[in-house]
Symmetry: C2
Subunit: 544 residues, 2 copies
Amino acid sequence: LSAMAFELRDRDLLGRIGRLNTKGGAVETPAFMPVINPVSQVVPPRRMREEFGCEIVITNSYIIKKHFSEQQELKVHQLIDYDGVITTDSGAYQILVYGGVETSPDEIIRFQQSIGSDIAVILDIPTGWNVPREKVEWTVEETLRRAEAALPLIEGDDTLWVGPVQGGAHLDLVERSAQRVGKMPFPIHALGSPTEVMENYRFNVLVDMIMAAKRNLPQDRPLHLFGAGHPMMFSLAVALGCDLFDSAAYALYAKAGRYLTTLGTMKLKDLSYLPCSCPICRKYGADELKGMFKGERVKALTEHNLHVTMAEMETVKQSIVEGTLWELMEARSRGHPALASAMKGLYKHRGFLERGSPSYKGRGVFIFDSVGLARPEVTRHLRRLEQFIPSVRQNNLVLISAPPKRPYNKTQEYKSLARRLKKELGDDSERVQICFYSAPFGVTPAELSETYPLSQYEISDPPDIETFVFTAENVATFVAEADCKNVTLVRGDDELDRWVTARCEDVCEEKGREIEVISRPDAWSEETIDELLSILKRNGKGEA
Amino acid sequence: LSAMAFELRDRDLLGRIGRLNTKGGAVETPAFMPVINPVSQVVPPRRMREEFGCEIVITNSYIIKKHFSEQQELKVHQLIDYDGVITTDSGAYQILVYGGVETSPDEIIRFQQSIGSDIAVILDIPTGWNVPREKVEWTVEETLRRAEAALPLIEGDDTLWVGPVQGGAHLDLVERSAQRVGKMPFPIHALGSPTEVMENYRFNVLVDMIMAAKRNLPQDRPLHLFGAGHPMMFSLAVALGCDLFDSAAYALYAKAGRYLTTLGTMKLKDLSYLPCSCPICRKYGADELKGMFKGERVKALTEHNLHVTMAEMETVKQSIVEGTLWELMEARSRGHPALASAMKGLYKHRGFLERGSPSYKGRGVFIFDSVGLARPEVTRHLRRLEQFIPSVRQNNLVLISAPPKRPYNKTQEYKSLARRLKKELGDDSERVQICFYSAPFGVTPAELSETYPLSQYEISDPPDIETFVFTAENVATFVAEADCKNVTLVRGDDELDRWVTARCEDVCEEKGREIEVISRPDAWSEETIDELLSILKRNGKGEA
């Protein structure tokens, strides 16, 4: 069991670009593994590698054992004629579908070792969907028992063994399963049974399942999401920390006349045009494709499906490098309202997302609506602000509506205010703390104006009500908790100004804090600044 | 000037698939016309047609005249070696860039006639951006004067002449320009000067400009959006009724190392992976592309840019056929917050969008958030509901929180209520009007439950606050305006129930209408229905 099997190269959110070292070679993750049917295959694995860039595939050791075990010295790479990395599954899927398999956990482990799998899976028990809780518990416990029992058999093995997590939609059981299998020395983990969740478009449940597993597994091991292969959900699953994917959908869907896109699935018979730039779709028209003989059509559709799937994984990897994985998720979430719901559900995981995300990707942040409030950049700013509060002590705190340009402290408006403070208040000006407020980040202390991403973001205008409420709440919390002498709020007459003022006044009344509000049509007009300075002079005097 | 030049084949929103008949052949719209540089061209027009499916291109007659006018019997199709449809521009772009041109309006019209352009443009005066209003007015008036002056020259001509609309971001001037040029017999119109608006990501301004033109032009003529060719905005512009696009961006960007995607522009030097499924990107890796000699690299990038651009137009056309153009716009709006802002701005154009949109595309409607409230399906339902109000007269109106499944009138919950009404109220049951309320459509009268799209939509859960407010407002308006005897509101305890109840109570108090509210945790429990029936019995008696 190789401890150094997985090296991280780059990260964004919980997604990562990694290098997985197997005895059959290194593979870059996140990676999609097309399922290879060892008995019949429309696109041969060799072509998949050469023309489609598939460096890793997955096939089923149980089916190989059933069909080919009489062969002497059977090797999986020769059998499917593929010299990249091969993962073998164990027959667990067949347990799910047929209720049982004609092999034992030990036998299928030894078989996978004998055929030379680079990555292999123990014979776990998939939880399934709509199963009574006792049955779910049994699948979890039996999978853990089998994982434990597998350890002596696989010790010292150069195959990378996968330790599966089960529990279905029972999150507490997923957590238990992940905690316990995570303590065993498996170099790779997998999350079982998401297929039915995905087929039913329960993407919010999928998010919670992945988070339950991910929180409880060692972060330095890759996580395989069993049976997931629709390009519409790659960005979401990778952002949550999944590294490996497998599916036969590219081929099965093609047989059923179904056409994959990054926004969903279409039926070829409904297509008048081909909404894709892949080599197949740029070569043929929709009518040509529909007019093909079945074999030819299935082959063309399979190739299209594989191109789209592989290209989406490249798109995901590029977005990790750039730091735009969140934006890609948002774009793909327009494929179905259930994906958009799953995005809304990320808010409850924002703390975990923030802790796992790299702190600086250099790239401007795009905020489209309140879904973006769950972004690590927002959570991180609010956390940082809590540590800023002590420095406000003994000061006159001024909260002022942010000027229209960024960075705020480089604007003419702010520079002119700073000059007047210095000139008219003298030494007292050092006891004035200026903070700006704006959506969605809330409070920006003047000296942090250039901190990433406070001047490197774009927000879609106008913000939604949730964003106003969130911003106002965070500004009010800051005001209420600031350990300072006097608070002056300088507001203009925008919607944000109204939300912030109302919430600050409420919270200050609750906490018994005095707050003075300067309310004018323009927060930065000369009259407003005159009024602010006269208040600060008066407050300054009181202290001298 | 052919009146039958443009035939409509299919529609969605204000977008349409059309057939434009020119003397050089028929072209399907919406169409992107790559700008052909007659002097040097990386991808030859012949290859564009054969390998990229470009059935129409655009080139510049002014440049041709400058470089090649000494040639005898000069014909544009031979000059650029292309046998598809050729549009020629007039040099107006050169006026914008260089301030003037060395030709006259009459001369360049005759020149375009002589070289055999299939579609041609008069020498208009582009408005430009950040220009004083008097100058804008002059560009509008001078363009109109030139359009008028062109008419005798082009009468009986088999070239399709384009009558441009100018006015820039001055919407009243765009309207005036469109109204007046729209009265002239041009078979095609064009909207000028959007390039700078697009380069500055002022997509909300672009929306208003297109709407100002579109409202005032004959709907049966195609509209060309001058200089627009970024695939990220095709779905938006087509949805607003633009049919023709042209740009040199695919080539100019390639020369500058820029890589187009449907979500924006990237720099090749920033790419570690190629986020695209086109033949170029599936053949090469990012490093291979970066390592190419300049000429080879520019050619590969040009081909990539052209593939993406052409494929996006196919995607747009497929979405028109399916009725999913709105969903495609939403997906693309995640390319930049400014595009998302433009989507938010569609709400003010919802009436015009609704009047122009086909009423039934058969496909389920996806509502992601309050941006979807501007959809024609929502506007149309509210309009239809106004006509429904008279039928409520003399009835007991029951507004009840919609059951969880659709169509509402086929649920067990409703059927059981209907049975009890019949049994316990007898003839009086015919005087009871049951209406459901739900987000975002508001009121669904029981008998309209199956009307499209009231049972054919998916809404992302939970709805945003704007959607709750919108729904509550529409329900309250319905209640207040319903000409009925008694109103009973049956609510559960969801967020929507709270918004609807509060708004209905407010509006009823304002209008002096009595409303009885049954408020229980579950709007469909037996106890709730018991209470409703006892109220209806009492109300029934009062009438007998």
